[in-house]
């Protein structure tokens, strides 16, 4: 094995772990993944595991799982052991699938069940919501604000309201599943007088949704978790077997676990098991769109039977930035004007590394912290960012830079503006993997030409895709482009593809063409003939045949396989779709309008170092786990970062809903009340809009904190007055500005 890495005292304490429960509170940049993978390796090497036992490492995302696998694999190889043996790294959803696969019939599944992605789930819900709107038109429209004229109202009902209801239904179904409430229970509860009539309608949607999943032999992501739990609960033998299989569980990013997810792990650990949980509750930023709850980790760490360890030392940021982040924690805990949310951030504070640490903190510099307390419109902020980024890159051409914002739309605006200013920008973090985009798009282009072989423009594009691997060679690419122009001008494509008397190809031979051009045309024609012959095959197989003729690397080929499977599922679920409809779906993947589960090895393992000298534009949510030399945290106004103050507007309180009610929060409240009452308890607090506002405010404070702690050397924070020019600087911004600028 390599020389032993030098450990910080807090890391050493973790490495001394032998057994039992341990809860680790880590700060940003403290090397928790590194520490946890080292611990995993140590346990693999030293714990007396049976051949059928594994150390189970559970992570939140696919990219983190790959990261762990690679690190553990490398260290085991270095120790002369077999990679991939004695451990298993899974995301929570992957783990849930493994568990279900042990006993699928317990939850009414076959072992070939499929998992639908969010886009497909939305498609199903969309139809059901439209149906509900039709069936309960009077009631549902009675929830709308009366402040609109008839025309505007109809416009809302047609365009905005279905999306709103879809999101409402989606989140409610997610919660119901996480709370493991069954449809039978809901039927019973809602049959009582004075229940929420909207909930009855949403239940109807839920019922239709599950029926649609059953019909497809599919489950969604939330089903995975609850079904896994159900399997464990029902079959004691299964739980016992799995406890034996995984005697140690190491869990990363525990702050992002939901109650049911935690319950799965707790069940697997059992009463005397071994469980190490690492997380940073201050980085819990997914509550709004998942069922994650950072308080669960806090409660775990506080348990008496849990050894609590902090990982407070971080070498990521200059001390000025660390101090700013710590000041924010302190201010939130002690001085935030909204008392209710003072628990949003918690200790430990970040400590810089000691001299001689392998990762010493960057030096402070005059521009380590810039907090621009200037009222700017959105456009003015763009100009400011353009100027500042340009200046930074001139002085630090080899550095990494990110501009972080809250909304996707704002990220797109910033990116667009910078591009216009001739600044090199990448919004790769905001998009699905490049490989998927390329392959789906390429295949869509080829299929288009096969479906409509008479169209010369399609054929020319297909030609370019066929030779797209020449793109890196300017000379060859020039030949490809000019030859493609020739194809485009073809009057009748059959004169080239299937010539009779007038062979276009022969005519070309007499013309003054680039060398290679004719060869390219001949090879392409052969491929087209092969593809035409393969049109007898189902589309998914046709795609694979095409792929064999394209020069693709392995990752791209793997994606083609995935796309082929995707087409097959599409056709199975929509047997009456025409090929053109399938093509539209493929095109939409490549245009990024439809998410597509990609291989985690690609794209997800984003490394800012590969983008030195360019600007990464992303939302703060996407920046988690990453770091840049320079970070611009933008749009820090009270719309993006509300503090629970009066006169703030909230995304979930729509103007078109009467009295700006937060229907989603009301539904959740009523659901919780019903569950508590039917368990024999009493719901003590009454519904208050402020509670949900506080939840949002807490999460945004953490998001602000995440944004700050992404910066290594220099951080600039700015704010703007928002779309309607009526927003103020957010509370954390105001505080930090006072602190730094003394204003």
């Amino acid at each position: 094995m390599d020389a032993k890495p030098r450990l910080r005292p807090s890391q050493q304490e973790i490495m001394n772990y032998r057994s039992g429960l341990m809860g680790i509170s880590a700060v940003p940049g403290s090397g928790k993944t590194w520490t946890l993978s080292n611990l995993a390796v140590k346990l693999i090497l030293t714990a007396d595991l049976d051949p059928d036992q594994e150390i189970l490492v559970v992570t939140f995302s696919n990219s983190a799982a790959d990261n762990f696998s690679n690190r553990i694999g490398e260290q085991l190889r270095a120790s002369g052991l077999i990679e991939g043996f004695g451990y298993r790294v899974r995301t929570l959803h992957g783990l849930a699938t493994d568990i279900i696969h042990e006993r699928p019939e317990l939850v009414g599944l076959s072992n070939e069940f499929s998992i639908i992605d969010e886009a497909e789930s939305n498609e199903i819900l969309k139809d059901l919501v439209d149906q509900a709107l039709e069936n309960h038109y009077d009631f549902l429209t009675s929830l709308l604000s009366e402040d609109y004229d008839e025309k505007s109202l109809q416009n809302i009902i047609k365009n905005k309201y279905p999306d709103y209801l879809l999101k409402l239904a989606k989140n409610w179904i997610k919660t119901v599943k996480d709370k493991q409430i069954t449809i039978t229970q809901l039927d019973e509860w809602l049959s009582e007088p004075d229940t929420n009539p909207l909930m009855s309608i949403i239940l109807e949607i839920y019922r239709g949704y599950q029926a649609a999943l059953n019909y497809r032999g599919a489950i969604d992501f939330d089903d995975m978790i609850r079904y896994a739990l159900e399997c464990l609960r029902l079959d004691g033998d299964l739980t016992r077997l799995l406890r034996h299989r995984w005697p140690y569980i190491l869990e990363d990013e525990s702050q992002d676990s939901s109650k049911s997810q935690q319950e799965i792990l707790a069940t697997l650990v059992g009463e005397d098991g071994n469980w190490v949980r690492v997380g940073d509750p201050n980085q819990a930023i997914y509550e709004s769109f998942t069922t994650a709850d950072p308080n669960l980790l806090k409660a775990f760490v506080a348990r008496e039977d849990v050894r609590s360890v902090d990982l407070p030392v971080s070498g990521r940021s200059a001390s000025a930035i660390i101090n700013l982040a710590n000041a924010m924690i302190d201010w939130v805990q002690t001085s935030h004007p909204n008392f209710a949310i003072r628990d949003a951030l918690s200790e430990p504070f970040i400590q810089p590394t000691l001299p001689g640490d392998p990762q010493e903190n960057p030096e402070n510099r005059p521009d380590s912290i810039v907090i621009l307390n200037r009222m700017m419109t959105s456009d003015q902020e763009l100009v400011f960012l353009g100027r500042e980024v340009k200046a930074w890159l001139q002085d630090n051409p080899d550095s990494t830079v990110a501009i972080l914002t809250f909304l996707n739309e704002r990220a797109a605006d910033i990116s667009g503006y910078l591009k216009k200013q001739q600044i090199e920008v990448s919004d790769v973090l905001m998009r699905i993997s490049e490989t998927t985009r390329f392959s789906a798009g390429a295949i869509a282009l080829i299929l288009k030409s096969l479906f409509d072989p008479l169209h010369s423009v399609h054929l020319a594009r297909c030609f370019e895709v066929f030779y797209r691997h020449y793109q890196d060679d300017p000379d060859l690419w020039l030949v490809v482009k000019s030859t493609s122009q020739l194809i485009k001008q073809l009057e009748n494509t059959e004169d080239y593809l299937y010539p009779l008397d007038n062979d276009w190809f022969e005519e070309l031979e007499t013309e003054d063409l680039y060398q290679n051009s004719l060869e390219m045309l001949a090879a392409f024609r052969q491929a087209i003939h092969r593809w035409h012959a393969a049109r007898i095959l189902p589309l998914d197989q046709l795609v694979l045949v095409i792929a064999q003729d394209l020069v693709l690397d392995n990752a791209e080929l793997a994606v083609v396989h995935k796309i082929s499977g995707f087409i097959k599922t599409l056709l199975e679920n929509n047997p009456h779709w025409s090929e053109m409809q399938v093509l539209d779906e493929l095109a939409s993947i490549s245009k990024n309008s439809r998410g597509f589960a990609t291989f985690s090895n690609m794209g997800a393992n984003f490394d800012p170092n590969n983008f030195r000298g360019k600007v990464i534009v992303a939302t703060a949510h996407k920046s988690k786990g990453l770091e840049w030399d320079k970070v611009f945290l933008t749009s820090a106004n009270n719309y993006d970062y509300p503090g629970g103050e009066p006169n703030e507007s909230y995304f979930s309180e729509k103007r078109f809903i009467a009295d700006r009610r937060n229907l989603e929060a009301e539904l959740f409240y009523d659901l919780e009340a019903m569950q508590i009452e039917h368990a024999g308890g009493l719901m003590l607090r009454s519904y208050d809009k402020q509670n949900s506002r506080d939840d949002v405010a807490r999460e945004r404070l953490r998001l602000f904190y995440v944004g700050i702690t992404r910066a290594k050397k220099s951080l600039t924070i700015s704010w703007n007055t928002g779309t309607f020019n009526n927003q103020r600087a957010s509370l954390p911004f105001q505080y930090l500005s006072r602190l730094v600028n003394n204003d």
Partner: protein, 697 residues
């Protein structure tokens, strides 16, 4: 002596051949120990007496191949002295023949009308008629399963009750009592019972005889009938029953009762098999036949595997106590040197290894099998494509093929739709163009598009030539053929039965000069398959539909389109050419019983190597005779079942391997999923042990 007989039989084999001294013999032993070869010698001896007849009984057709080959070599036609049957084919034939005996028992509502036999697909067609309304009423709502699987699993339950021999009315209760899930989910078994009862009632009302009824009628009525007994015992003097462990208990019962009346009997039992247990095979029940035979012999010698492979097999059978050496691993297992991340890399590596083998002296004559739990269409395609690029001939074994995967059949179906616009069945533009190019000689896809013009896929009607297409773009002979085909299709009589329509379409148009089926024998076979498929479908239909051939044809085509009828015919048995690479699902390969020199095991991380498939509505073990009624099925049982299954599979494969196994896995499988099944763990343990012994630890 013929080529497939052992040159120097060992003692057990010699004894087996002696049907006079060993008239009632139970022969057991592992695969590749020369049992079937010995039975051929015995058959040869029996055949010396031309007055006596022999029944060769096998559990499935693929296992009959050595007997067919042997008879071919001897120049003896099947049927005279020797009859080769599966019990299900015998049962079906006998029911047809002795229907009057069954009719006299008044089981059916119209006993004196002809019975209508159902295939698996036509059974599904009728099951759908019962289950669909139940689903509309909210039944089966806790089950997440595509509809086709739902129908097939209910039918499977019904079949199991007959094969195992318990009343079909107990199905729901048996499944339910072993199930430990929640009460709400348990209700589904009463839905299953309800569907089974309704289905059986419907069959009895309408003279429909599905597989379960065939078995029940045979066992309960025919077999106990004196006339029938007399007939069947007079029919055969000798019985050779191979692979008895792959048959369900009812077959063993029949054989047990048949034994005393036969002049000689040889029962061959593979004592480490039972691969068809998901279909009701019961090796334990097969063993009960041993006691009823007068003699019993055991074979032990392996005639196929090299010594190292045998050593590897012994080691894997008791991995805990085995100390494999690195030398043994190197000799017997090929494992990719680099970690394979994605599936295409795996395919590339497999191709590379095969190329290396082929380049060895004599390598091009080596037999190779590529085995994986499931063969998806894409795997089949990619692998054959990549092997063909290195000049390797591929032979693919799939248990069944879908009708629409055959280009000829697909073309015939589309042309039938063109001829019947009143069916209002959609034809996509793409399919229409492909069908025309497949039918008309010389027509390319571009010109097919030109001919179709603005074809409306919802109203599939072939127009006369579209306007505005200059004649120089489509040669006149193509126009002539198109017009000929179109006119023929439009002039056909909608009331004509589909099989007759297809026969005429083939004979009068497509096999004529100018059309692609001319001189293509395969197209004739495919046409016949489609006609036969329709005929079987049609005779199972209600009388009203049978009388209206247009509706019957429409129902058939719709059933194909919806996937309800997908695998109506078994692909013809192919003998693997010596220089080809066989690609086969593991289970089909094992049932093919043909050894190879090298085996490639793909996707060793998959759970498909051992897990049972048909879930959640049926259960091969709970519904078997070996399950204690009322006991609950838990993860412990599942684990034990999987381990036994895996052990059986590994052992069975190695018994059929001469030189080396190549084990492959990629981090992400074909579908992009990470798999960590037990077979992977077995290999990892084996390597770890070898590494330890190498390092002296």
């Amino acid at each position: 002596m013929t080529g497939i007989l052992p040159q120097t039989p060992d003692e057990t084999q010699r004894n087996t051949t002696d049907y006079v001294d060993f008239p009632s013999l139970f022969l057991s032993g592992p695969a590749s120990s020369g049992k079937t070869s010995a039975s051929l010698l015995r058959l040869q001896n029996i055949l010396e007496n031309p007055q006596e007849s022999t029944l060769i009984l096998v559990p499935q057709r693929s296992l009959a191949e050595p007997f067919h080959q042997f008879l071919r070599e001897l120049g003896i036609a099947e049927g005279d002295q020797v009859s080769i049957q599966t019990m299900s084919s015998l049962v079906r034939r006998m029911i047809s023949l002795f229907w009057p005996i069954i009719a006299s028992h008044q089981v059916f509502e119209h006993p004196y009308e002809e019975p209508r036999f159902l295939t698996l697909e036509t059974s599904q067609y009728y099951m759908a008629k019962i289950v669909d309304p139940m689903i509309d009423q909210g039944r089966f709502n806790n089950i997440t399963l595509p509809l086709n699987r739902l129908y097939s699993q209910i039918i499977d339950n019904l079949n199991k009750s007959a094969l195992v021999g318990f009343p079909h009315t107990e199905i729901g209760q048996r499944l339910s009592s072993a199930f430990i899930g929640e009460a709400a989910r348990q209700n589904v078994f009463s839905d299953v019972q309800n569907a089974v009862d309704q289905f059986r009632g419907y069959c009895l009302q309408n003279n429909l005889v599905d597989y379960s009824l065939q078995v029940e009628l045979f066992c309960n009525i025919l077999w106990s009938n004196q006339t029938f007994q007399k007939y069947i015992t007079n029919q055969y003097d000798h019985l050779i029953y191979d692979n008895s462990e792959e048959d369900p208990p009812y077959v063993h019962n029949i054989i047990a009762q048949w034994l005393p009346s036969l002049k000689s009997t040889l029962i061959i039992h593979d004592d480490q098999a039972g691969y068809r247990s998901f279909l009701g095979a019961d090796p334990i029940s097969s063993l009960t036949l041993e006691k009823l035979c007068q003699q019993s012999l055991v074979t032990t010698r392996n005639y196929v595997s090299s010594e190292p492979i045998q050593e590897l097999r012994d080691c894997l059978r008791d991995l805990k106590n085995c100390q494999p050496t690195q030398g043994l691993i190197d000799k017997t297992i090929g494992f990719p040197e680099k970690r394979l991340c994605f599936f295409p890399e795996l395919l590339e590596e497999v191709t590379h290894e095969i190329e290396v083998i082929r380049a060895l002296p004599g390598g091009d004559q080596k037999k190779i099998a590529i085995l994986t739990p499931y063969i998806s269409d894409s795997l089949r395609f990619s692998l054959s494509h990549s092997l063909e690029t290195i000049g390797v001939q591929v032979s693919i074994q799939k248990p069944s093929s879908s009708l629409t995967q055959d280009p000829v059949i697909k073309t015939l179906i589309i042309l039938s739709k063109f001829a019947h616009p009143t069916w209002e069945i959609r034809v996509s533009y793409l399919d229409a163009a492909v069908a025309l190019t497949n039918a008309i000689e010389g027509l390319d896809l571009n010109r097919a598009h030109l001919l179709l013009g603005d074809f409306d896929q919802h109203n599939p009607y072939l127009t006369a030539l579209p306007e505005g297409v200059p004649s120089e773009r489509i040669p006149s002979d193509l126009i002539e053929r198109y017009t000929g085909l179109r006119d023929w299709l439009l002039s056909s009589d909608p009331a004509e039965p589909l099989h007759s329509f297809l026969s005429r379409l083939f004979g009068e148009v497509l096999s004529q000069a100018g059309f692609r089926f001319e001189g293509n024998t395969q197209s004739g076979t495919s046409t016949a398959v489609l006609m036969e498929s329709f005929r079987k479908f049609s005779i199972s239909l209600d009388r009203s539909l049978q009388e209206n051939q247009n509706l019957a044809s429409q129902a058939f085509i719709k059933a194909i389109d919806s996937g309800l009828i997908s695998a109506l015919y078994l692909s013809e048995w192919e003998v693997q050419p010596n220089n080809s690479v066989l690609i086969a699902p593991v289970m089909s390969y094992l049932m093919r019983n043909e050894p190879v020199d090298y085996q490639f095991w793909l996707n060793i991380g998959s759970q498909g190597w051992y897990e049972r498939l048909e879930q959640p509505l049926t259960h091969p073990i709970v519904l078997s005779r070996n399950w204690q009624t009322g006991k609950q099925w838990t993860a412990d049982d599942e684990l034990a079942y999987n381990q036994a299954n895996l052990q059986r599979t590994i052992s069975g494969l190695l018994l059929r391997c001469r030189e080396k196994v190549f084990a492959f896995t990629s981090d992400y499988n074909e579908a992009g999923v990470e798999e960590r099944g037990q077979l992977l763990t077995v290999f990892q343990n084996l390597f770890r042990k070898a590494l330890r012994s190498k390092n002296g630890r």
